[in-house]
Structure formats: structure tokens, C-alpha cells
């Protein structure tokens, strides 16, 4: 994992080498202080040498100022590296996600992708910063302080040799137990949040069934669970501090006892004893720091894994590798969708390509001539959406072949193919920005005239101009400030503005009333005679005039023909029609 992520730090490599040097100098400055202090006490004071004391004192002050310089420099490079790394990683993830196929998108949930791109990147980035600040510093401190202490007195350092592993062991035990307890606690946190979320989303249900008492009980249980788990976990975690204090103080006492005798017998200076004591603190504190960083990186590890999972995702829909230059007979005529003929040959499809999942579509065969309007009807879950998604290669067929203008869709460059196909998805999204900006997604160079024509065709012009700011009306995120029907008409206009050769409407007029819908439909026949149109619809009235209607049931085509033909002969079509014969009142 570290290897995979480390490439995003590459451009900062020189800093990464610089940081340890700075840390080393910083640590050295800091650790020299007690040694110099010992000189003052052991040499300067007994020798009554004021100039020596002053000199050493000034050295010490300079060292401290030097440490400030190195520390600040280190911080400068550390933040530069870690924030730069975070930015690189974020860019890479975002680009990767943008390259995802629909299949890839389906596998991760939207919420999970968002958390990965926000929280998880942040975790990893912060951990890197901590690591650069502490993970290098603490072990260096530990090693150098130990060497210096050993140099002062080898015998006394035996005390340290006992104290260090003792403390490390204790902390590891505590952390191990605590991590387990914290994991349990996190589960309880999730449970509490889940109850909260459900109550916020379903507040109308809770209120209409007067279940406040029930929900309060439910919440109380998860809340109490959380508190108990929290107390249990934190109670263990706080053992760290007393443990550290006990070990440190124990070591201090032992050193004073042993060292005190040495001082009396003259094998150790009093100043040296005091400096030794200050190394104890630095060494044991480093041990604690190291264990903390390890604990922290365990959390970042989980985030890192989730990021690598995104980065490692195999994009399953890509351009066909370009044909080798020598084998290409007619070079460099970019393939284009010219007419909009669509043909399905023995197409079968299942979402779970590797597994034994059931076929969503099976044995699909049909041909649509350029400019035809095709209606697709069938119950929910019969494969209507899947079928049209195969045309712009939002998914790839499992068997058979989909041809556009007699060329396998997999032979087109993806961008070329999709540029000529307009799709209005069932769950369609508008983005924050003005109405105009949203429409221009269809064509960034569209003139006002073109925009208005598309909007008139989609029956959106009138309501847009009824807004005080017209086409420059700001839409909230997801288009929250306009109605469902208006949203659908905007998304249709956006797709029409693309002037595609093939236009696919996936149940995209469900919130538009039937009269308006009829007008939109009329514009397909009048103004889009050059465009092949696929309309998926719930209502028979939406597809009545289509040149061809495909009836799907359970992933199979069970009928194909005009309305008149199907109404005469197709049982399922008759059933659907019968269920709707009273007509439909639509909302706008």
C-alpha cells in the first residue's frame, strides 16, 4: 500500500531527503543542551570560571535558536510535502473516478466514493504530516539520547535498558486492548448515527405512526451502548499516562540511587547526573510517541487501503487499443457516427460478468434505421434501461454485439461514440450553477439561439423565462429549487442541445404532464427527423406514435412492431395498455 501511494510524493522527493537531515540537526541541538549544562555544573562552578560558564551558556542559547530554525524549516518542508502529496493523491483519485465505467460506479456506492475522496485522503495526508514530524523525530531522539546517556555512564544506562522495553511492552499491551475496544466503540457510534439518520429522513413516518416513544427507547439503547463502550475503551487508554509516569519515575529513582553513590565517589559529576535524568524523560517520551504514531497509522492504514482499492479498480470499459500504424489501411480518418443506425445482434447481458449471475438481457435482436423513433415498454426490472445503456457503451454486452452505423460500438473511441449519443438518464442530475451553464453541458459553444430552440423543443423555454433571471437563474445543488417536471425538461433540453445522432430518453418525462409530454414528443417527430430516438416509457401514450415499439419482459423481447400491430397481437402489450386505458393524470 505504501509503495502504491508513495508515487504521489515523488515530485517532493528532494524534500523528503531533506527532512531527516533537518530533524537530525534539530534533535542534536536539543540533546546537546543537558550535556553542556553538565559542563557548567561539573567544570564551571567548581572551577569558579565565570567566562567558561558564560561561553557555554551562549553556546546553549545558540543551539536553542538553531533548533528553532531547523524546526521551522522542517515544518515548512513537512507541510509542503504532505499537503502536496494530499493534493496529488486527490487529483489521481478524482481522475480515476472520472474514468470509472457505470459498472465501476455501481460497485462502490456514491456515499462511499465521496468519503474516500474527502475523509480518507485527509486521514492519510494528516498521518503523513504527523509521521514526518514525529515518526522520524522520536526514534532519532531515542537512539541519540540513549547513546549520549551511555556515554555519560554505561552502568546507569542499564536502568534505561530495562525501562525502555518495560514501557514499550506496557504501552503495546494497552494500545492493543484499547484498539479492540475502540473498534467496538466505533460500531456503536455508527449505530447511533444510523438511528439518527433514519429518524431525520423518516421523521414523517415516525410522527404519523406516533412512534416517538419507540424511537426514543431505540435511541436510548444505542446511546447507552455507546457510552458504556466509550467508557470501557477510554478507561484502558488512560492507563498510558500513569504507566509512563511510573516507569519514568521508577527509573529516575533508580538513577538517583545508583548515580548518587557514583557522584559521592567521584566517578560521576553532579551535573552529569542531572543531564542523565533529563535524558530519561526524552527517551521514555519518545517511546510513548512512537507507540502513538503506530496507533494513528493503524487508522490511516484503513483509509489508505480504501484509497488503493479505488486506484486499483480495473476500468472495464476503455478504448480499444489503437491499431498498429502499419496495419491500418486507411489512416487517420477518425471514426464518426454519421447516420445513427442501431443494430443489436444476439445480445445477452449480465451485470456480474465473472459470476454466475442471471442474464438481465437475453437473445436481443433488432435493427433501427436512422431517424426512427423507437419506444420501449415493459414492467419494472425487465431490462429496458439496461438495453439502451448498451448503445453508448455505458455497459458492455456479455454476448453478441451492438452496432452503430454497422460498426461495433467497441471499435469507436469512447468519446467519439458518446459525443453523438444524447442520453437522458432516469436519475438525472443538474449541477449548481445557472440554467445556462447547465444547458451548455450539452454543447459548450451553443449560441443563445440554439439554447432557446432546444428549450422550446423540450417545452422548457416558457418556464425558464418566467423566472426573474431567466436563463441566468441559479440552480441549487441537484436543482433543488425547481420542480421535478421542470428538472426533467431541462435535462431533455440539455441532451437535445448536443444535437446527437441518437437520443435516448430513459423514462425521463415521468413527472411531466401528458399534454406537455405530447408537445415534447411532437418536436421529436418534427425537428429531429434526422435523429434516431429511443424512448423508454411507463405510459403507452408516450410511445403510441413510435415507428417501432419493443416490448420487454424478463430480459427478452416479447413483441416488436407498431402500436396497431402490437395491440392486435401482443398479450403483454395489451395488458399494459388495458391497465392504463383510463389515462393518466400527471403532475408538473
Amino acid at each position: 500500500m505504501i509503495k502504491k501511494l508513495s508515487k504521489y510524493i515523488a515530485e517532493y522527493k528532494k524534500y523528503v531527503y531533506l527532512v531527516p537531515i533537518l530533524v537530525f540537526l534539530d534533535v542534536l541541538c536539543e540533546l546537546s543542551m543537558p550535556l553542556l549544562m553538565a559542563r557548567i555544573v561539573d567544570l564551571g562552578i567548581p572551577g569558579k570560571d565565570v567566562s567558561y560558564i558564560t561561553r557555554i551558556g551562549i553556546y546553549m542559547i545558540l543551539l536553542a535558536l538553531g533548533a528553532i530554525l531547523f524546526g521551522v524549516l522542517n515544518m515548512y518542508f513537512t507541510t509542503k510535502v504532505s499537503m502536496g502529496f494530499g493534493a496529488n493523491l486527490r487529483n489521481a483519485l478524482f481522475e480515476k473516478v472520472q474514468a470509472f465505467s457505470f459498472n465501476n460506479i455501481d460497485r462502490f456506492s456514491t456515499a462511499s466514493l465521496i468519503t474516500r475522496l474527502t475523509n480518507d485522503v485527509n486521514n492519510v495526508q494528516m498521518t503523513l504530516m504527523m509521521a514526518l514530524r514525529l515518526l522520524l523525530r522520536a526514534p532519532m531522539m531515542l537512539v541519540i539520547a540513549f547513546i549520549l546517556a551511555y556515554n555519560i555512564n554505561a552502568e546507569l544506562s542499564i536502568v534505561l535498558a530495562i525501562a525502555i522495553p518495560l514501557l514499550a511492552l506496557g504501552i503495546i499491551l494497552i494500545i492493543k486492548t484499547a484498539v479492540k475496544l475502540f473498534t467496538t466503540m466505533q460500531e456503536k457510534v455508527d449505530a447511533v448515527n444510523n438511528t439518527l439518520q433514519e429518524n431525520l429522513i423518516g421523521i414523517r413516518v415516525v410522527k404519523s405512526f406516533v412512534r416517538a416513544g419507540f424511537e426514543i427507547e431505540k435511541f436510548k439503547k444505542s446511546n447507552d451502548d455507546l457510552t458504556e463502550a466509550g467508557i470501557r475503551a477510554v478507561n484502558i487508554a488512560i492507563l498510558n499516562l500513569p504507566l509512563m509516569m511510573l516507569v519514568m519515575n521508577g527509573a529516575t529513582l533508580a538513577i538517583i540511587w545508583l548515580g548518587g553513590q557514583m557522584v559521592f565517589f567521584g566517578t560521576l559529576g553532579a551535573g552529569e547526573l542531572v543531564s542523565f535524568l533529563s535524558y530519561i524523560f526524552q527517551i521514555l517520551f519518545s517511546v510513548m510517541m512512537i507507540s502513538m504514531v503506530i496507533l494513528m497509522s493503524a487508522r490511516a492504514e484503513a483509509s489508505g487501503k480504501r484509497l488503493v482499492e479505488v486506484l486499483d479498480t480495473q476500468i472495464d470499459i476503455t478504448d480499444k487499443p489503437l491499431a498498429l500504424p502499419e496495419s491500418s489501411e486507411q489512416p487517420s480518418t477518425p471514426m464518426q457516427v454519421q447516420r445513427g443506425k442501431v443494430e443489436f445482434r444476439d445480445v445477452a447481458f449480465k451485470y456480474d460478468r465473472a459470476g454466475s449471475g442471471e442474464n438481465v438481457l437475453c437473445g436481443i435482436n433488432f435493427t433501427v434505421q436512422p431517424g426512427e423513433v423507437v419506444g420501449i415498454v415493459g414492467g419494472t426490472g425487465t431490462g429496458k434501461t439496461t438495453l439502451v445503456n448498451l448503445i453508448p457503451r455505458l455497459y458492455d454486452v456479455s454476448e453478441g454485439v451492438v452496432l452503430v452505423d454497422d460498426v461495433d460500438v467497441r471499435d469507436y473511441p469512447l468519446e467519439t461514440l458518446r459525443e453523438q449519443i444524447g442520453v437522458v438518464l432516469q436519475k438525472n442530475t443538474l449541477f449548481s450553477g445557472t440554467i445556462r451553464e447547465n444547458l451548455m453541458w450539452g454543447n459548450p459553444d451553443a449560441t443563445q439561439e440554439e439554447i432557446e430552440t432546444a428549450c422550446r423543443d423540450a417545452q422548457a423555454h416558457d418556464f425558464i423565462t418566467s423566472f426573474p433571471k431567466g436563463y441566468d437563474t441559479e440552480l441549487g445543488q441537484g436543482g433543488v429549487n425547481i420542480s421535478g417536471g421542470q428538472k426533467q425538461r431541462l435535462t431533455i433540453a440539455r441532451a437535445m442541445l448536443k444535437k446527437p445522432k441518437i437520443l435516448i430518453l430513459d423514462d425521463s418525462t415521468s413527472a411531466v404532464d401528458s399534454g406537455t409530454e405530447a408537445k415534447i414528443r411532437a418536436s421529436f417527430y418534427q425537428n429531429l427527423s434526422q435523429t434516431t430516438v429511443f424512448i423508454i416509457a411507463q405510459r403507452i401514450s408516450s410511445v403510441r406514435e413510435a415507428d417501432k415499439i419493443i416490448v420487454l419482459d424478463d430480459g427478452n423481447i416479447v413483441g416488436m412492431g407498431t402500436h396497431a400491430e402490437l395491440i392486435a397481437s401482443n398479450r403483454i402489450y395489451q395488458e399494459i395498455n388495458a391497465s392504463q386505458q383510463e389515462g393518466v393524470l400527471a403532475n408538473v
Binding site: I45, A67, Q98, T118, K207, V210, I216, V584, L585
Partner: protein
């Protein structure tokens, strides 16, 4: 489809989602409470029943800091009186005494943390529970005007911060003050002359740390703003990823993202740099003070006015005094930020709850042969329901619950200046099926929301079996009304649990019977674990239609005398709808039913169809009547008129 009609039951609220903070939460330590004193007093009230604990905690903090200070002071007599003269017996005794002091100190620290954790966690628990209880009583208006993200973050970020502040910041602040004060006193005692030197550096430290902190706060605000914009963009683009792909807009999107990412990187680098240099600067200034002390102390010792033991002790205080300085600023900020969070929590707690002045209650009754009513006393489900109306003389009158609902000249608007319903009167006789037809915003859902008092009328009144709904206790009023809403919401748990949500004491058999009644049984049976199938994340593993069937089953098991179906079958395709029609008919039999639907097939066989326009009823009658009238309904039905 799920977006449709959203605006019918709640005003549209444009604006940022989740308060714009995005994942990552509010930055710790950079927020200020509006009224610190009042908030603090209110927070302290939560601790008032733990006075004894707090007294012990403070005591323990004194013991803990004291033992540390004493431990350092011991260096002086040990070096001067025992080590240098070579009194090892004395040294041993002193060490044993010191060991005892250290042990007591460690014990006190541990005890203090344990007590504080209990206190903090229990207090957090209490605030969370109080907030949740309060939330259940808030009117829907409150939920309309606040985003889920905003409300959630009060539970997660804000209460967590309060808990953290109690658990750590408060204790550390107090103990830092104690350690700092104690060290200063001890240094003064050891050498007033040296203290002048130390003071100089300490002052500089204080000055610098506040200076850098305020600088860094500015950068952190910039960082948060950029992070919000970046995360907002991620949210929007990942959510709309399929659209991005369909329009081959990947490159533009990536370009925009890179720009925002770069802005964030710059701001974050600055913010973290300033936050990060505080520690090395303060720490090493502390070392400067240590060096200066060693130097001047050495000179003093040469003059003979200072001894080595005192110097050693003094130096160890110098080492300790820097840490509290930093802690005091940090923890103080953390506490202020927690208080800002507490203000948001209290703001929610102080909201006006749903008013419920109703005194009329629902009781199960049995009908005597002469038609009089008797409150049923045995545990079995009664044959009839009745309203128990308190009379002025203190007696109770029983009124049989029939399901007669009438609107008398009702006016209503979600906002005072915008009327949604005007002078609306209507009646539904017991057992009638009333359908509402009209365009979005005509007020269909609003009417049903007034019956169950999700909102209260501005003018006029609504009666239920002749009783003003305002006089009926909300609990009992809603108990008597079954609701199937546009957006079905299921809860985490099994299918069985979700059906039983309609009536908590329903047996498994009753739940299955309800599912069979609405034709949900067949699809449930086909699920891997049948009725025990676990539903997650608002029923994400079920289709929209299946979820709606479950919501209908949930209402069926409640078996209420009046039922409100708001677009209950909109997500079910017409063929499936036909299949459940029988079940729905059975469900509606002998009940007063209000139906909102846009399919004529659902509306056609109603006793009365009300056509609404701009908050007014413009036509009323049954299907045949209305067709005969050749009015708006006729136009709608024949497709001559378009709703807009």
C-alpha cells in the same frame, strides 16, 4: 421519480447542504461562542449532580500536580544534603519518600482521569438523549428549515466536542494552570534573581504563542473555506458522475477539480505550517530559558549565592514550565470551540416543541346491544374505537370514532405571506374514499398534513367526528390515521420489524396477513430470508415498488379507521398496481380514505373527487358526475387540459 412532488409537502429550500462544512467537520479550536457566560452556566448545570465527583477530581489534580512539583524539589535536598555529603541512608530514605510521592501522584492522576471520563461520557450521553427526545417533539417546520447534515453535526461534532472538552481540555487546562503556577512559585522560592531571567523568556513565549495562534486561525479559516468548496464539488460530481460520463465531460470536471484542489493545497499548507511551528518555537524558547538559567545560575553558584542542588531543581522546573504555557492556549481554544458547539445544541433544545393542548383521547370500546358504548377493559382488541371527550363538569363523554372529517373555511400557508390553502371547506363522510387531483403546489399534500396536524391551520377549523382536531391529543389523533407517504421510509431491521412498525403488538401472523392483503407476501417470500430479510440503508436492497408495498403493508397492520394515501402507488408500474389493487380495495373498505394520485385509474372509483387549483377546490363529484360536468376534470381526463 423520487424527486417528483417534493415541493408539494415542503417548501423548496435552496442553499448549501450539510452547512457547508463537509466531511472533516468543524476545525477544533477556531470557533468562539456567542454568549460564553450563559453557555458555560448552562453546561455546568449538567454537572450539578456530580458535585462530589468534581470536588474529588479537583483534589486529585492538586495531588497530581503537587507530587510532580514536590518530586522536582526533592532534587535539592538530595544533592545538597545526601549525595554530596555521602549520606546514603538519608538518600535511601529520601528516595523511598519520593517513591511514595510519585505513587500517590500516579494514583491520583489515574483516579482523576477515570472519574472525569465517567462524568464526560455520562454527560455526553445525557445531552445526546435530551437532544434526541427534544427532536422527536419538534414540529415538521423545523426539519423543513434545517438540513440533515446540519442537525446530524450537532449530535456528532458538537456533542463530541463538549465531551472531549470535559474529558480532556478542562482537566488539562486546570492542571496546566496548577503546574504553571506551582512551578512559578517554586522557582521564586528557589531563586528570585534567576526568576527574573526566566520571566523574560516566559513573557516572550506567551506573546509569540498568542501571536502565532491568531495568525494560524486566519489561515485555518481560509483552509476550511477551501475544503468546503473542494468537498462540495466532490460530492456533486460523484453524485452526478453518470451524467458527467454521458456528456463526456470528464476533462472539464477534472480541470475544475484541479483548480479547487490547488487552492486548497495552498491554504492548507499555510495553515498547517503556522499551526506546526508553534511547538518547535515554544519548545526551543523554553530551551533558551533553560540555557540562560543554567548560565546565570552557574554564575550565581560561583558567587556562592546559589547551590548546585537548588540549581538542579530550578532547572527541572524550567523544563516543565513551557509545556503548560502551550497547553493553556490550546485547551482554552478547545473549550471555547466546544462552547460554540454547545450553543448550537442548546439552540435546538430551546426550540418551541409541537403544541399539543388536546385532551380528547382514543379508547377501545365495545358496543352494547342498545348502541351505547362501553370502554373495553379486557386486553383483547376492541371491536370499536371512541373518542373520550372531557366535559366541563369533569365527566367523560364517549363519541364513537366513525371517520367523519370536515374542513371549515381553512386557510393555511407554510410562510405567513404565502397562502397555500384559501378558505377551503370539504367533508368526508365515514367510509368514503376522497381523491385529490391537481397540479404540484395546488395543496393536495398540504390538506392531508393538516388532518394529522403535521402543520396547524391558520384560520378556520378541521373537525374529526365533530371534534376540533386541535382538541384531540396528537398522539391519539395520529394513532387513528394511517399514512402511506410519497417517499417511503423503512428502518434498519428485518422486513417483519418494518411491517410491525405499524402496530408494535402485532403478532407475526398479523403482519403476514397484512402483507398478503396488499400482495407483498409473494415478493417477500422470494427474498433469501423471507420475512427475516434484513433491510439496510433505507431499504436500498429493495426496489422502489417493493418498498412501497412494504409501506402499504405497514399501514395495513396498523388498521386505522382513517387512511391517507399520498401517491402511494406512484412507483409501482401499472401492471403491478393492478395486482395490488384488490389488496388496496380490501384495505380501503369500511374506512375513510384520502387518496392523492396522478393516475386516473387510482382515482376513478372514489366516492368523491376534488379537483384543486391554487389552494381552492374548483370541482367536486364522483367520476361520472365530473365527466358529465365537462369541467376541468373532464379536460384532464380527455387530455384537453394540461396541468401546469
Amino acid at each position: 421519480m423520487s424527486e417528483k412532488n417534493r415541493s408539494d409537502n415542503q417548501p423548496a429550500f435552496p442553499g448549501p447542504r450539510g452547512g457547508g462544512h463537509g466531511p472533516g467537520g468543524r476545525q477544533h479550536g477556531y470557533e468562539r461562542p456567542k454568549n460564553a457566560k450563559r453557555t458555560l452556566l448552562r453546561l455546568l448545570q449538567y454537572l450539578s449532580n456530580r458535585k462530589l465527583t468534581l470536588v474529588i477530581v479537583v483534589l486529585m489534580m492538586f495531588v497530581g500536580s503537587g507530587s510532580m512539583l514536590a518530586g522536582n524539589y526533592f532534587l535539592k535536598p538530595m544533592i545538597n544534603d545526601y549525595i554530596l555529603p555521602g549520606d546514603f541512608n538519608g538518600l535511601l530514605n529520601a528516595l523511598i519518600a519520593l517513591a511514595a510521592i510519585y505513587l500517590v501522584g500516579a494514583g491520583a492522576t489515574y483516579l482523576q482521569s477515570r472519574l472525569m471520563i465517567q462524568t464526560a461520557q455520562r454527560t455526553g450521553n445525557r445531552i445526546r438523549q435530551e437532544l434526541f427526545n427534544k427532536m422527536q417533539n419538534l414540529p415538521l417546520k423545523y426539519f423543513d428549515t434545517h438540513t440533515h447534515g446540519d442537525l446530524m453535526s450537532r449530535y456528532t461534532n458538537d456533542i463530541d466536542n463538549i465531551q472531549q472538552a470535559l474529558e480532556q481540555s478542562l482537566v488539562q487546562l486546570v492542571s496546566s494552570v496548577l503546574t504553571f503556577g506551582g512551578s512559578v512559585i517554586m522557582m521564586l522560592v528557589l531563586s528570585p534573581a534567576l526568576f527574573v531571567v526566566t520571566m523574560g523568556v516566559l513573557g516572550l513565549m506567551f506573546f509569540l504563542s498568542t501571536k502565532i495562534a491568531s495568525q494560524s486561525r486566519k489561515y485555518f479559516q481560509a483552509q476550511q473555506k477551501n475544503l468546503g468548496s473542494l468537498n462540495g464539488y466532490v460530492e456533486e460530481m460523484v453524485d452526478g458522475l453518470k451524467v458527467v460520463k454521458v456528456f463526456t465531460h470528464e476533462d472539464e470536471t477534472i480541470e475544475e477539480f484541479k483548480g479547487r484542489n490547488e487552492d486548497y493545497r495552498e491554504a492548507a499548507t499555510q495553515a498547517n505550517f503556522f499551526a506546526g511551528i508553534v511547538m518547535p518555537i515554544i519548545f526551543n524558547l523554553n530551551n533558551v530559558s533553560y540555557a540562560a538559567t543554567a548560565m546565570f545560575g552557574g554564575i550565581l553558584a560561583v558567587n556562592g549565592s546559589f547551590d548546585i542542588g537548588s540549581l538542579a531543581a530550578y532547572l527541572s522546573y524550567t523544563r516543565q514550565v513551557g509545556h503548560p504555557v502551550m497547553q493553556i492556549t490550546n485547551q482554552f481554544n478547545a473549550i471555547l470551540s466546544a462552547m460554540a458547539g454547545a450553543e448550537r445544541v442548546f439552540e435546538m433544545m430551546d426550540q418551541q416543541p409541537e403544541v399539543d393542548e388536546g385532551t380528547v383521547t382514543l379508547v377501545g370500546v365495545n358496543k352494547n346491544e342498545d348502541g351505547s358504548l362501553m370502554i373495553s377493559s379486557n386486553g383483547a382488541r376492541p371491536s370499536h374505537w371512541a373518542w373520550q371527550v372531557p366535559q366541563p363538569d369533569g365527566t367523560m363523554q364517549l363519541v364513537e370514532l366513525c371517520g367523519d372529517v370536515r374542513f371549515h373555511d381553512v386557510d393555511f400557508g407554510y410562510e405567513p405571506e404565502k397562502k397555500v390553502l384559501c378558505n377551503l371547506s370539504l367533508f368526508a363522510k365515514p367510509g368514503q374514499k376522497i381523491a385529490f387531483v391537481g397540479s404540484t403546489g395546488a395543496g393536495k399534500t398540504t390538506i392531508t398534513n393538516l388532518i394529522n396536524r403535521f402543520y396547524d391551520v391558520d384560520e378556520g377549523k378541521i373537525t374529526y367526528d365533530g371534534i376540533n382536531v386541535k382538541d384531540i391529543s396528537k398522539y391519539h389523533l395520529r394513532l387513528s390515521l394511517g399514512m402511506v407517504l410519497q417517499d417511503t421510509h423503512l428502518f434498519t431491521g428485518t422486513i417483519m420489524d418494518n411491517i410491525r412498525y405499524g402496530r408494535l403488538d402485532a403478532t407475526d401472523e398479523e403482519c403476514i396477513a397484512a402483507a398478503k392483503q396488499v400482495n407483498a407476501h409473494s415478493f417477500i417470500k422470494r427474498l433469501p430470508d423471507g420475512y427475516q430479510t434484513h433491510i439496510t440503508a433505507d431499504g436500498a436492497n429493495l426496489s422502489q415498488g417493493q418498498r412501497q408495498l412494504l409501506a402499504i403493508a405497514r399501514a395495513a397492520v396498523a388498521d386505522p379507521p382513517v387512511m391517507i394515501l399520498d401517491e402511494a402507488t406512484s412507483s409501482i408500474d401499472t401492471r403491478t398496481e393492478r395486482l395490488i389493487e384488490k389488496g388496496m380495495d380490501a384495505l380501503m373498505k369500511d374506512r375513510t380514505v384520502f387518496v392523492i394520485a396522478h393516475r386516473l385509474s387510482t382515482v376513478r372509483n372514489s366516492n368523491a373527487i376534488l379537483v384543486l387549483e391554487n389552494g381552492e377546490i374548483i370541482e367536486r363529484g364522483d367520476h361520472a358526475d365530473l365527466l358529465e360536468q365537462k369541467g376541468r376534470y373532464y379536460q384532464l381526463y380527455t387530455g384537453q387540459y394540461v396541468l401546469s
